[in-house]
Symmetry: C2
Subunit: 451 residues, 2 copies
């Protein structure tokens, strides 16, 4: 019998699940349902279209239409799932012309993603207040981008900083307001955030931390924002205060929702109701180090979770072991990345830490193009195991984060990290690798502590 | 009592040993002896000065003179060690004016390095036949570099390819002749060598493999080289056929020399005679995977071995665990790197292998500047452990090699490598990391084999 796999959500997790299911089962009937009018595209690329690095939003479409034909997916765009009936094993969908259709499934995969969180600020419903999640959002913002205008970005997370980069290089005067006392609070410790902040401010972006936007003023159109006692000109406001898992359907279907408000899943990406899987931004993940539930709403995680859900839904055996939330962003000439726990986060989890922080070079000191790179390595004092890293530099950040992610997954200790048989050549690396120097410094501090 | 540490050789291993010894023992009397007229410099940078990437040979000097004063080293340049007397624990040196002096030591560290191997080719003693090992060599070659001239490089190893890059971009018509049937025979397998070769030939460098230079012709000056039946114009010839450990002093002192013709040392970098250590290009290392002796004449290894020798000579406890010979080079727009064993090398050591080879992207498909990167992952079929990798691309090669080196040192298996919690952002990484894709392919091949 043909296995009917229905996937709700057509972005990273959904398409990854569909593709993995197809590789496992050539005959399965695979339906992919998305509310959006576009087939899957790279959300992470949206700021770079606004920046002008990429010329058209359509360039973000990941697969040509032929891919969906080749993979024999039933792709339903502009289609909303209204209801899940787990007992009858069917869902009810509605398309643009308002028609509802019932679709039966053998396996259902929820990849419903997340939606921007919009804080209850006075005036937030005004025109020219945007979020950035979809191509439509991107188009709306793009139309407002005119050199000399003033933009206020609420939130100094990934999207906030990437947008600040995009707007600034297009000549928009940009202010970021972050309620927490530092930028990138989920990614970096205060010390590293300070370094990143300094380098972003140098580019002409104004940053206010530790204060909230109290009000967005203007008649119909936005005119200014109020932060404490001060008012700041604003022709447009972008809310970039994170996303929330989309779990309405999951709740309606009776699935268990975790403490982080993501859908609960096990290592097979199975929810608490048989034959329903979930993957991507809508699910709660488990941190590999602390074993605690966490939200890790990243495209990479969505791809890997989707793959596991797809393989299992198609009758295979796959396991998703958990997350380190490795992430990297590029804004201006700066790459900022992290993996594992911050010192701050570790201490909150009751882990005593020691850290080493070193400023090194990306190429030989004397080689043209060499640039500064700052690396922080965090280890668990009791075991000497590396549990986190944060890196800021102009090049070579992403691959160092990947190296440390692999190291953490392999439970590497500081003593081992200082002994990497690293490679070197003047145009591409320095003879003393900065990751090893940082580990060395952490090790010295740890030895001093234990003496 | 003041510990008298005498170090023979003033480059990577020697200075690393001296610095490590000083950090361990502030009062030690540390003497650093070098034949060269320059204090330590980066040999690896020599081709890039010839290329014009770096403006002056002096830019390669690693430490300002003040460093040697600050560290209180007795730096003796242009000084030759004539004799070692291990029983009396002294050495006899000769400086430029021919005077000999006896210097007593408590600990002696040999960091005598290596010298170019020059094969016995007819005509090899002619003028305009060079090797590249020292700043003096670099100056001699540089003077011959005139656009339109013809150069023949014998040997397609690291130095050969880096020099081909240097000469070509300065307009010299360059031919490489390599006796082995592939380029970079110690670094790459044939399949990856083919890929690299194609991209180098595209840049206008002519490459002949599997044939030797039979003769270098010309009256006094070089005019042509003969390869088989063919003759090729040559205004200069550079011999880049590898280096040999400099062990004359070690042999005179009665130290044991290993099967690879490097000085035998244990994990403490101790030679077979008490109180004499050795480090760097002159010693034989042990491969971490095969446990077999190997020569791994790289600056990175010299630095780490020198450090261990220096700490131990100064009364500390340090261990050097062995090598993977991780290495990277950049020639033209190509980075080529490797770590661990090649498939070829593994099979010679009796290890059955499976490999995955994938062509991926360094950034998101749609992001400007994205480029091709080829990754090969080699694993031991019996254990699924990763034992080697080779990578060719325009960016991001060095740090991926380091990641794999760490992985190999932590005995990572293919099943684990496909699960790296890797990071992603369109400008700096692709959403599916090519190292993981290559591991996935190797894993699939292995599963098929075992079925």
């Amino acid at each position: 019998m043909q296995n009917r796999i229905v996937i709700v959500g057509g972005n990273a997790a959904g398409v990854s699940a569909a593709s993995a299911a197809r590789k496992r089962d050539r005959k399965a009937n695979i339906t992919l349902i998305t509310e959006e009018s576009y087939p899957p595209y790279s959300r992470c690329g949206l700021p770079y279209v606004i920046a002008g690095d990429i010329s058209r939003f359509e360039d973000l479409l990941i697969f040509p239409h032929s891919y969906f034909q080749m993979m024999k997916f039933n792709l339903l765009t502009q289609t909303t799932v209204k209801h899940i009936n787990p007992n009858e094993k069917h869902i009810i969908i509605e398309n643009t012309d308002g028609k509802t259709v019932t679709i039966s499934y053998d396996k259902l995969i929820l990849a419903t993603g997340a939606k921007p969180f919009v804080p209850p600020i006075k005036g937030i419903k005004k025109r020219e207040v945007y979020t950035l999640r979809t191509i439509e959002d991107g188009r709306l913002i793009s139309r407002q981008v005119v050199a000399g205008k003033h933009a206020v970005i609420i939130g100094a997370g990934f999207v906030g900083l990437e947008l600040a980069h995009a707007l600034s290089i297009r000549g928009v005067k940009t202010l970021i307001v972050e309620m927490v006392p530092q930028i990138l609070p989920t990614l970096l410790d205060q010390d590293m955030a300070m370094k990143a902040r300094g380098r972003i401010e140098e580019k002409g972006v104004m940053i206010i931390t530790g204060k909230a936007v109290d009000e967005i003023n203007g008649r119909e159109k936005v005119k200014e924002v109020i932060v404490g006692e001060e008012s700041y000109d604003a022709d447009l406001v972008i809310v970039a205060t994170g996303v929330r898992s989309r779990t309405e359907l999951a709740i309606q279907a009776g699935l268990t929702i975790g403490s982080t408000k993501g859908i609960s899943v096990n290592q097979k990406m199975e929810t608490t109701i048989p034959d329903i899987y979930a993957a991507g931004d809508c699910v709660e993940s488990k941190n590999i180090i602390t074993d605690q539930p966490t939200l890790c709403q990243l495209g990479t995680i969505a791809l890997r979770q989707g793959k596991v859900a797809g393989i299992n839904a198609a009758g295979g055996q796959a396991i998703f072991k958990g997350v380190l939330c490795s992430a990297v962003l590029k804004a201006f000439d700066l790459e900022i990345g992290a993996t594992g726990l911050t010192s701050n986060n570790a201490e909150k989890n009751g882990i005593k830490t020691v850290s080493g922080r070193v400023r090194g070079k990306t190429r030989a000191e004397y080689f043209p193009g060499t640039s500064e790179i700052n690396v922080k390595i965090i280890s668990d004092t009791s075991s000497s195991r590396v549990i986190g890293s944060q890196i800021i530099g102009s090049e070579g950040v992403a691959q160092r984060i990947n190296m440390l992610a692999l190291g953490i997954q392999k439970q590497v200790k500081l003593e081992e990290l200082v002994q990497i048989d690293a490679c070197y050549s003047p145009p591409v690396a320095d003879s003393l690798e900065v990751v090893m120097l940082s580990a060395e410094m952490a090790l010295q501090k740890q030895l001093r502590k234990s003496n």
